[in-house]
């Protein structure tokens, strides 16, 4: 008779196969990374530009990024999109505080033709007035929808408090930005940060050496020759901040502080603390605030990185009537991590979970490339993940408690609620 109360024996993960993409120089410090081992017809290219939000004021970086394919003297936006769609390309553009990206997913046979279309569009974009006005009007519609969401309002306020020491990093899109923008400003930003702003090229797909060389040649004219300059000493504004939103049924909560990135000696151990606290389904916060109290559909924590620093954040949306009890429970869980040692069962659970997730993050060419890029940006190589493996295997309850006391004090946090 099968005894269902006895769980099957577990096998430990002691080794993960990390594969780096090959590196090719484009020009100067700018490199192309190529992950060739793709067992199917899919491919992706990504262009990284030193054109993040912090490169300009009044939201100009986001506007230029959104207008990159809006038309050239030879082709309008409909024609550009039609050419890309005829080749089956799926475009994604993204912008963060410190960089801007253009990504394209397509079949490998179409990668180079699509890349040529995109590069031509970026090089010759002429910021046609009609296109610019349409784009701004659409963004405004989207922005007005966002303003109705408590999550957006809390996030925006949080960013302002988090990056309080730096005017450029802290500023979010505001309605007046739609009025003050001009075509001349767009052109100047584009010329400064795109025509002379390419930082990195990433190719995933089974392309041959000749194809990679042709990509190197065609991206070379965009290479950034300027010095990179990112904020080094950001500091946040601790305290409590509320954003009123009439009629909201829920409150959004964002709590956090400036922290560090992979270059800090405490980073990896802190990541384990972060997991225990709020970064998996069985975390302290989920167990208490969702699974025990039912206050929320979800609550989580994260560690985000910037070029020279990073930050920690707790995020949730809770019923209006349970906002105070939720904050009380978050404080309670912080305090518990600082005063009580994590039990060995829980520590083992988190060790195993994190190792399984690391194995998954290295599974497949796309995931593996992204895993590589997240260390490359901090000047590290894949050895970092072997270090991570050993840190996870050797973490102690004392170390977790030490880090909780060092970095997770409620008084140090920016606490934002919107609702």
């Amino acid at each position: 008779m099968l005894n269902r109360t006895i769980e099957p024996a577990l096998k430990e993960i002691d080794h993960i196969n990390f594969v780096a993409p090959t590196k090719h120089s484009v020009s100067g410090r700018v490199d192309l990374y190529h992950m060739k081992e793709v067992p199917n017809e899919t491919s992706r290219f990504e262009l990284y530009f030193d054109a993040g939000k912090a490169k300009g004021i009044d939201s100009i970086a986001g506007f230029v990024n959104g207008l990159l394919l809006s038309g050239t003297p030879d082709k309008n936006s409909i024609e550009i999109n039609s050419q890309i769609n005829t080749l089956g390309g799926f475009l994604e553009s993204g912008i963060s505080v410190e960089n801007a990206t253009i990504s394209m997913y397509c079949l490998k046979e179409n990668l180079i033709p699509i890349l040529d279309i995109v590069l031509d569009a970026i090089q010759n974009v002429s910021f046609i007035e009609k296109e610019v006005n349409e784009f701004l009007a659409d963004r405004k519609v989207g922005h007005n929808v966002s303003l109705e969401k408590v999550g957006f309002l809390a996030q925006r306020e949080f960013q302002e408090r988090l990056f309080a020491s730096n005017d450029v990093y802290s500023k979010a899109l505001k309605l007046s930005d739609f009025e003050t923008i001009t075509i001349d400003k767009l052109k100047a930003f584009h010329s400064e940060n795109y025509l002379n702003g390419l930082e990195k090229v990433v190719i995933v797909g089974d392309l041959d050496a000749a194809e990679i060389n042709s990509i190197i040649e065609s991206t070379k004219p965009f290479v950034n020759s300027k010095e990179l300059s990112f904020a080094t000493d950001l500091s946040h504004e601790s305290g409590s901040f509320t954003v009123p939103k009439e009629g909201a049924l829920q409150c959004a909560v964002r709590i956090g502080r400036i922290l560090f990135n992979k270059n800090h000696e405490d980073y990896l151990d802190f990541l384990i603390l972060n997991t225990i606290f709020g970064d998996y389904f069985g975390s302290r916060l989920m167990s208490n605030i969702r699974e025990d109290k039912g206050y929320t559909y979800g609550i989580g924590t994260m560690v985000a990185e910037l070029n020279h620093t990073g930050y920690f954040m707790i995020a949730t949306e809770v019923g209006k009537d349970v906002l105070e009890p939720t904050l009380k429970e978050i404080k309670f869980e912080l305090n518990r991590l600082q005063t009580e040692l994590v039990g060995e069962d829980e520590l083992q659970l988190v060790r195993n979970y994190m190792l399984g997730q690391l194995l998954k993050s290295a599974d497949g060419p796309y995931a593996m490339t992204d895993l590589f890029l997240s260390v490359e940006v901090h000047g590290k190589d894949l050895e970092f993940y072997n270090l991570a493996l050993s840190k996870i295997q050797n973490i102690t309850a004392e170390r977790i408690q030490e880090l909780a006391n060092k970095y997770l004090n409620w008084e140090d946090m920016s606490v934002v609620t919107a609702g």
Partner: protein, 415 residues
């Protein structure tokens, strides 16, 4: 080509095995043939509430998540109007842990009052977060009962309203489990670098002794044929006027299902589609617009939705849209237009197929439809579709008498 093996246990459980030697991870996907369409009208939202309760411990195992995380895995689930799907992704070496957990909750749940109380409030918060506390969040709560008069697609998976979730009792929960959660109503797919013999042995070990249960016979009210245009305008405190045009389309197994999928691509998949180019770029009537099909198993919907530009009236947009429809229902797409749509289709399909979880879910979906090999003939069926087929389907589908329109009027003083 996605290779698979299929076998069935004596208790009726259908099992698919898909071998992939290239990954260290494995997927255990379990599809239960029950969705919101199987709820009674006075207890809507129940299939989804029940999905939450499936994580509250089973008869022999107090907690579902912890042992799976201990095995390095993670899991999630979703409920649709048609099905409830649970999946576990974990290192392949620990596959047995997932089978142990999944089989125990197929056998029986712990049914603790605490779990019901907590998940009830979690689901109510989910209701608020996703449907009530978002601009345009309640659109589907309004559009479904407009488009469907009899068929249970008239309510959303979250439920018609919060009350039935608040009032759910433990007896309701147990009855639902007995009716729908047993091997004869389930499909299991295991994917990863494993051997068939080993998979058979493990599945037999953990699932073989679960009682078959009674196969649930679905007998849903049939939706009467729609004969006239339906229109509803609601006023909400939202920033822009929004529109939703829902056209009835045939069920998933109908020969025209894929053709209408391509028709929706032609209408509104991307920035080269008819709606975008004509109504947005040329006529500047809308801020955004797109078209898609719901993909439901019974008679479904092709939906066109978007937001109006400031200063444009619903009437202006409506006549422009029907003019565009006239064109689509009288003239074939050009060959180059169909080529463009097909390259996009092929690309998307290639990306979908590379994910192990996607393959496992899709195999279960095709088994539910009656033939798991459908996963491999699907592309060929799409490629055989001609511009004549699309024209015929456009004529049948894109008519006023087949359409339900929901307009959301922006009003600062509305709720």
């Amino acid at each position: 080509m996605i290779k698979f093996e299929r076998f069935q246990l004596e208790n009726g459980l259908r099992v698919l095995f898909h071998k992939d030697e290239t990954t260290p991870m494995a997927v255990v996907n379990t599809l239960y043939d029950v969705g919101a369409r199987d709820e009674s009208e006075d207890k809507t939202g129940f299939a989804h509430l029940f999905e939450h309760l499936m994580f509250g411990g089973s008869v022999n195992i107090p907690e579902f998540d912890t042992p799976l995380q201990m095995a390095g895995g993670e899991n999630n689930a979703f409920t649709s109007n048609d099905i409830t799907n649970y999946y576990d992704v974990l290192p392949v070496n620990n596959i047995e842990t997932a089978l142990w957990l999944e089989s125990d909750r197929m056998l029986s749940l712990a049914f603790t009052p605490k779990s019901l109380e907590v998940q009830r409030s979690v689901v109510i918060e989910e209701f608020k977060q996703r449907y009530l506390n978002q601009p345009y969040g309640d659109v589907w709560l309004q559009l479904r009962p407009l488009a469907y008069k009899e068929h249970p697609y008239k309510w959303a998976t979250i439920g018609k309203e919060i009350e039935p979730i608040e009032n759910a009792t433990m007896e309701d929960v147990k009855a639902f489990f007995t009716k729908h959660y047993n091997p004869s109503n389930a499909i299991l797919c295991i994917a990863g670098d494993l051997e068939l013999e080993n998979v058979k042995e493990l599945v037999e070990k953990w699932y073989g002794s679960i009682p078959a249960g009674t196969k649930y016979e679905r007998n849903l009210p049939k939706e009467p044929v729609q004969t006239e245009l339906r229109e509803l305008t609601i006023e909400r405190n939202v920033p822009s006027n929004a529109f939703y045009y829902a056209f009835k389309m045939p069920d998933r197994l109908h020969a025209d299902f894929f053709t209408i999928d391509l028709l929706s691509d032609a209408l509104g998949r991307d920035k080269s589609s008819r709606l975008y180019v004509t109504l947005k770029k040329e006529q500047q009537l809308v801020a955004d617009i797109s078209a898609y099909i719901m993909g439901s198993l019974d008679e479904g919907l092709l939906v066109i939705s978007g937001k109006l530009n400031e200063g444009v009236t619903f009437e202006q947009f409506d006549s422009a849209l029907w003019a565009l429809m006239d064109d689509l229902t009288s003239t074939k797409l050009s060959d180059s237009e169909l080529d463009r749509i097909m390259v996009k289709f092929r690309t998307a399909k290639e990306f979908q197929d590379q994910g192990l979880l996607n393959r496992a879910m899709n195999l279960c979906n095709y088994e539910l439809l009656g033939d798991p090999d459908g996963i491999n003939s699907e592309s060929e069926k799409y490629h055989q579709i001609t511009t004549d087929d699309i024209l015929r389907c456009a004529k049948n589908t894109l008519t006023k008498s087949n359409c339900s329109i929901l307009n959301v009027k922006a009003d600062k003083n509305a709720k």
